[in-house]
């Protein structure tokens, strides 16, 4: 989510590189975020290669901001 919040959209391979997650792990997490309506997924072919791009939805952006606020509040309480 942190990677996606700072870009317009990002490809699966880019997200994998930035998070260091395995393909399977990342797919599962992205699937859950998509189910929750936090991500919009676009699948297309670029030069005959399948490319999947992810973009944060408004709902996802709001959820991420709320998450950061809660984390911040927890850290301040300590």
């Amino acid at each position: 989510m942190a990677v996606l919040v700072s870009v317009d959209s990002a490809e699966f391979t880019f997200l994998r590189e930035k998070t260091g997650a395995t393909d399977g792990n990342l797919s599962v997490h992205l699937g859950k975020l998509e189910e929750a309506g936090y991500l919009a997924v676009t699948k297309q072919f670029i030069k005959k290669k399948p490319v999947t791009s992810y973009k944060l939805t408004r709902k996802g952006q709001k959820a991420f901001e709320e998450y950061i606020d809660r984390l911040d509040a927890m850290v301040r309480r300590k």
């Binding site: 942190a2 990677v3 919040v5 700072s6 870009v7 317009d8 959209s9 990002a10 490809e11 391979t13 880019f14 997200l15 590189e17 930035k18 998070t19 260091g20 997650a21 395995t22 792990n25 990342l26 997490h29 950061i68 984390l71 911040d72 927890m74 850290v75 300590k78």
Partner: protein
């Protein structure tokens, strides 16, 4: 950046916040505004204008056309190099700010290029047949004030979308110089002023931007 797996991502709130901050800093570094294009184009056009100005002042042919041709060729070659370098760095992600920035400066360069072609063509046509209506019934030196105005617009938009106030405010210097050039448009010294403007308000901002860019990149590498 040390690879982490989803199973080993930070579990404590402080670690999570730090991790997120690191990711955001890396993004900031990736999409930070580089000063290289500003420096390259600023120098290229300043040199071209400088040579043109000197040839007019000294009343000598300094092979101005060849100089311009070589400079523009070098300029576009550099732009292709910077574009490829940027694409490699950003492979797999897109930023709306980057898109807007690229579009603004492409439009700016294209518009100024068109102005130059129009004036050159009109000069060629009128040289061929002076009875034809003068396409540059406008003073050719008007190209300076028109392009200064266009450059001002590009700086304003670029500074605004990148949230760099001093870069945005450079636009006002360009617009002020544009008005000056319009007022003194009959004087060839306008060309010299334009060259000076490019050094002061394009190359220098480019150097400042490039230092800022290196600081941001260095800061994100240290945190990684």
């Amino acid at each position: 950046m040390a690879p982490t797996t989803a199973s080993s991502t930070p579990s404590r709130p402080e670690e999570e916040l730090q991790f997120i901050r690191k990711i955001l800093d890396e993004s900031r570094a990736r999409f930070a505004q580089s000063g290289e294009p500003y420096i390259v184009w600023g120098l290229i056009i300043a040199i071209g204008m400088g040579v043109t100005y000197l040839s007019l002042i000294l009343q000598r042919d300094l092979y101005t056309a060849y100089v311009w041709f070589a400079l523009i060729l070098f300029g576009w070659g550099s732009m292709i190099y910077f574009y490829r370098k940027r694409r490699k760095e950003e492979a797999g992600s897109k930023s709306i700010i980057d898109k807007i920035d690229t579009a603004v400066w492409t439009a700016c360069g294209g518009s100024i290029g068109l102005l130059v072609i129009m004036f050159m063509l009109s000069d060629a046509i009128n040289g061929y047949d002076p009875n034809l209506p003068n396409l540059a019934a406008i003073n050719p030196l008007f190209i300076c004030f028109l392009s200064a105005m266009i450059i001002g617009i590009a700086f304003f938009i670029s500074g605004t979308v990148n949230q760099i106030p001093w870069l945005r405010n450079t636009a006002f210097a360009w617009w002020a110089s544009s008005v000056t050039m319009m007022v003194f448009s009959s004087s060839i010294h306008v060309i010299g002023l334009y060259a000076l403007m490019l050094i002061l308000f394009q190359v220098v901002p480019g150097i400042i931007l490039q230092r800022r860019y290196r600081r941001i990149v260095a800061a994100s590498s240290t945190e990684a």
